[in-house]
């Protein structure tokens, strides 16, 4: 990683059986001459090799080499096995492999966070958190003597607590 932008350029390089990966945003890739000026297929190979061979570990993201060593303590799935099968072994893998998973999800789904249906338990938890937030808001409304706002919040809290 070179900056905080979403990586859209993914490079993989294998030298002496050692695999290294780099993930860059388009701007960083352009700055390092990895992308041709006009939209074309050719990549500047020399610039690519230079980047991969960069001695400065700060410049070449060290975390990009870590996935190879990742393994789930619960189900034992290794990164290599995941890459081979494309399947996870258990729920924990989603956290263990998060660093490599998120770029993958971005590519496949163009998104990394669920926005759909929630199980009832999660729905309840979300409601509890929301009510707690409203209570804090109500307290500060009372503190600042904004009683109209506080009354509105009180009604909203009541409504949410009696719902379901």
């Amino acid at each position: 990683m070179f900056c905080d932008n979403v990586a859209t350029v993914h490079l993989t390089d294998i030298v002496n059986k050692k695999k290294r990966e780099a993930h860059l945003c388009e701007k960083c890739a352009r700055e390092r001459d990895l992308l041709p000026e006009t939209a074309g297929k050719a990549i500047d190979l020399k610039a690519l090799v230079n980047l991969m061979m960069a001695p400065d570990p700060a410049q070449f993201a060290p975390s990009a080499t870590v996935p190879v060593a990742l393994q789930c303590p619960k189900c034992g799935l290794t990164y290599a096995a995941f890459k081979g099968e494309g399947r996870f072994g258990c729920s924990h893998d989603y956290d263990v492999f998060r660093s490599v998973l998120e770029p993958l999800l971005e590519r496949v789904h163009r998104g990394t966070a669920h926005t759909g249906k929630l199980p009832a338990a999660a729905r309840d938890a979300a409601r509890v958190a929301r009510v707690a937030g409203l209570r804090t808001e109500m307290a500060s409304a009372i503190a600042s003597e904004n009683y109209e706002q506080a009354a509105r919040l009180r009604d909203l809290i009541r409504e949410m607590e009696t719902a379901q």
Binding site: C90, L105, A113, H114, G116, A120
Partner: protein
């Protein structure tokens, strides 16, 4: 277990009566769910898979549903019965023949709701409907999912949503598929153009039996690829929009056929019926191609004495496992082709005598 009782029946989804049924054969939604506290099926031990089966069976027996689900154990089933359920769209080819260990399927007598257990994910819920019915199918599957969840703790992640063995299904775990009959787009050579456009917007196109299957008889399944980052309503809404466009294209192409070559189409339909009713050997592929012509003929009103339901039925009942169950014993390739021809002849004669 005796699946033979299912044989004369027909899944409700095959009635061919639902909305837009001139083009849309059926609608299917599936949800992938996994139980918390167990490794995914691929890494579960046989003992764990057994426990999962018992938990799901118990949940199914106890929850309140508008239909009754009966559980069928797959390892205890003959190869023929498994293939039969694949042809009925009630189980996947993987559950039937690739996966190992304790696994099964529960479905209702209308064959519209099913729950596969220990497929790639612990649970694969499915609702099948006749015609274009994504909203109704969603309402049904949402209820089924809610009901099962009261008895089963699902693997759910606050960021990633419903967790699945394959990250391509994570999030909603939802796959909506609509099976379309597109003979006119095929005839006017526009079909590839339609599909290229679909792939650009991330919708997949498959044949009758899902992934990897060929599109025989102009039957195509259109489904979503993206399962994460969009709500269920949004995913289904996007499919709906695309299907409505394809519907329009297909109907336009049919109108052009009627206008420009009605006589030739009439002839093609008559010949297709003729071959189906008089062949003594016929492959599944040829049968599907000819049935497709007949189905188009019905919807173009070139023939009015063959009901659409009968054609839909024949698409399924002339497939290998159905034929062998109808005959009552195993058949090799050639015998199957002869049995298929004999069955078609009898069925068409039957339809003709009711004219």
């Amino acid at each position: 277990m005796n699946l033979d009782t299912l044989l004369p029946n027909l899944g409700e989804w095959l009635r061919g009566t639902g909305p837009e049924s001139d083009v849309v054969v059926s609608t299917r939604i599936r949800l992938a769910r996994n139980l918390a506290d167990y490794p995914f099926t691929g890494r579960a031990t046989p003992a764990q898979k057994s426990e999962i089966v018992s938990k799901v069976k118990e949940a199914i027996a106890r929850v309140e549903l508008p239909f009754k689900l009966d559980y069928h154990d797959v390892p205890a089933m003959s190869v023929l019965d498994r293939q039969f359920l694949v042809e009925r769209q009630l189980i996947s080819r993987e559950l039937a023949a690739v996966l190992e260990g304790p696994r099964g399927v529960a479905f209702d007598d209308k064959e519209s709701a099913s729950v596969m257990v220990n497929e790639e994910d612990h649970l694969r819920l499915q609702i099948l409907r006749s015609g274009f019915a994504l909203d109704d199918a969603w309402t049904d599957i949402d209820k089924l999912d809610d009901a099962l969840e009261t008895r089963l703790a699902y693997a759910f992640h606050t960021q990633f949503g419903y967790l699945t063995a394959c990250p391509t299904n994570v999030g909603t775990g939802l796959r909506g598929s609509v099976m379309l009959h597109l003979p006119a787009l095929g005839l006017t050579k526009q079909i590839d153009k339609v599909f290229r456009a679909l792939q650009k917007i991330n919708l997949a196109v498959r044949g009758l039996h899902g992934e990897g299957s060929r599109a025989f008889g102009d039957l195509y399944q259109i489904s979503n690829q993206v399962t994460l980052g969009k709500s269920e309503q949004k995913i289904l809404g996007e499919i709906k929009e695309v299907i409505l466009t394809i519907l329009q294209y297909e109907r336009q192409a049919r109108a052009v056929l009627l206008k420009e070559r009605k006589q030739a189409e009439q002839d093609r339909v008559a010949r297709a019926l003729g071959t189906l009713g008089s062949a003594t050997m016929i492959t599944a592929e040829e049968t599907m191609e000819l049935l497709s012509v007949v189905r188009l003929g019905i919807h173009l009103r070139l023939i009015d004495d063959v009901p659409a339901t009968a054609v839909n039925q024949l698409f399924i009942q002339t497939q290998a496992a159905h034929l062998q169950k109808l005959v009552g014993h195993a058949l090799d390739g050639e015998e199957r082709n002869a049995a298929r021809a004999k069955y078609l002849k009898a069925r068409l004669r039957d339809i003709g005598s009711h004219r």
